[in-house]
């Protein structure tokens, strides 16, 4: 973690002409076909397993697609009825959309602010402590979403969880509380889980950027009388604008589609209708109620939402480097 700059191995100008450029004429056809020969297997897999399914989820969303249609393979077109149902549903506006959007906004803010604070702390530490703390951060990052979620569920477990134990031992509450039934406390736990799992990426990335900010700039600012806050916001933040853009957009994409972290919590798999988000709603409608068409319409909405964010992301990346 010492000097790795985030702009990894840039495509240098020296390699502009591929080997095709300097081969004898007779081989130029082979040289021109070669990239496509190399690409074909991967593109085939992507086409069959990612692009075609994306098209199909769109097609399903226009049908009353249930078990019968899956078995027979016959289409059952109903136009935009699924979308009409989604958009007129009380569930969407009162529960699902707030749970998705408000949660994403909150968790992105917490993740980025906390991650940046940790990066600043790491940058100010000596070599030994920086290694210790960043290894601990790696451990938090490495925790798989499934086991991480189970650990948080266990910590907050109503009957035997350590959180209730401690609160009772401190005399802050008389009887154990079930934190999973209330929508707000449910999502507070999801937030804790997501921030805990998400801040290491931000911290490590921003740290790499911080270490790349020229010392002279900071010293010059200090001589000009800028305090630590001023130095951070007027010198460091503008220098790391690209990094912050990438980190914020990626966190947004990830936090919009939290699934396991909600689905695996008590009541999160659909039995508690108050805590559904877009992803879980789509899944439970499809595989719980066998309403694959309706579930597909919700999935299309989520995809479009993410696509919009992705477009912003791609444009940020394009500004930064040549692909």
């Amino acid at each position: 973690m010492t000097s790795t700059l985030p702009v990894a191995v840039p495509a240098g100008p020296g390699q502009q002409p591929g080997p095709g450029g300097r081969r004898p004429l007779g081989k130029s056809l082979l040289a021109r076909v070669r990239p496509w020969m190399l690409l074909t297997p991967a593109l085939l897999v992507l086409a069959v397993l990612l692009l075609w399914p994306l098209v199909r989820v769109g097609l399903f969303s226009l049908q009353d697609y249930g078990l019968r249609e899956i078995v027979s393979g016959e289409p059952n077109w109903i136009g935009l009825a699924n979308y009409v149902e989604v958009f007129t549903s009380e569930q969407l506006w009162a529960v699902v959309l707030p749970n998705t959007v408000v949660f994403a906004v909150l968790s992105v803010s917490f993740t980025v602010v906390f991650g940046t604070a940790v990066a600043v702390l790491l940058a100010s530490l000596g070599r030994v402590w920086r290694t210790i703390v960043s290894s601990a951060i790696m451990a938090a990052w490495a925790m798989p979403a499934v086991t991480g979620t189970y650990v948080w569920v266990w910590i907050f477990d109503a009957d035997r969880g350590v959180f209730n134990h401690v609160l009772q031992a401190l005399g802050l509450q008389d009887a154990p509380v079930n934190w999973f039934t209330d929508r707000w406390s449910f999502y507070a736990i999801v937030l804790l889980n997501v921030v805990h799992h998400g801040f290491p990426f931000v911290a490590i990335t921003v740290l790499a950027g911080l270490l790349g900010v020229p010392k002279e700039l900071l010293e010059a600012a200090e001589i000009d009388g800028a305090g630590p806050w001023r130095r951070f916001f007027s010198v460091i933040v503008p220098q790391l604008k690209q990094i912050f853009a990438v980190v914020i957009i990626l966190s947004t994409i990830w936090d919009f589609k939290v699934f396991a972290q909600v689905y695996l919590m008590p009541g999160g798999a659909g039995s508690n209708r108050e805590v559904l988000n877009l992803g879980v709603w789509s899944y439970t409608e499809s595989f719980g109620q066998n309403r694959y068409g309706f579930g597909a319409a919700i999935a299309v909405l989520l995809t479009l939402l993410l696509l919009a964010i992705t477009v912003v992301y791609v444009r940020t990346i394009l500004k930064e480097e040549e692909l």
Binding site: L51, P53, I70, P144, L278
Partner: protein, 275 residues
Amino acid sequence: MSRPTTATRVGKGVAVALLLVFTLFPAYWMLVSALDGKAGRGSSFVPADPTLEHFEFVLTDGGFDVFLRNSLLVALGTVLVSSLLALLASVAVARFRFTLRTQVLMLVLIVQMVPLEALVIPLFVQVRNLDLLGTLTGLVVVYVALALPFGIWMLRGFVAAVPVELEEAAYLDGATWGRMFRSILLPLVAPGLVATSIFSFITAWNEFVFAMTLLGGETQNYTVAIGLRSFFGQHSNDWGAIMAASTIITVPVMVFFIVVQRRLASGLTSGAVKG
């Protein structure tokens, strides 16, 4: 630069301590509960009754030995296929300038953002039509697709970092393109290949939505991520066993992460996807 006063030193120490507690507590608590014969019946922060019985139970009667084997098979299959495909594709995009190159890269970048919930419905139907529901093969096929875009994106950087001059020297010595690939490019991108393989491995190891959907009731084919659910009872959960199993799942991933952490910071911002 700035003069560290005692107050800032103490403040920094406290911040580091709090950060370490917050960061490590879940992993610590998982381990403590896994080792505690009385998991959850007391409220001590060290195992009240240290024992390995949860691990024993999980790996024998719990059936986790089978789940581990399944997960290993699936993960290795995913790593082999996706690394090979990603390597070929990344050489194409890093070393050749061809029409549609930017479009191909764009496609690779965009498909990474597609939510799994949108893919799970059509892929369920597709895998069902292929008669692969409930099989490990079906799972490998899907995981290859999930691991591939990130693999291409990450390996691209490693391939581009190999100096073109080395390739040209090989050509001057009369090597064919295939020979150059084997003797020059492959050894030099090997570290990148290792890092990419580890990420494919983790993708397959951690994945949960597709395993749950595609394997359905085929308990003997469960992977570790959904095998965990078998310790959840109707009325009470066997938390000691759940935490022991979680520890078994988490440890290899943590080891991998710490091994690749140096490459991570650079690979991620160019590859830009979470493991």
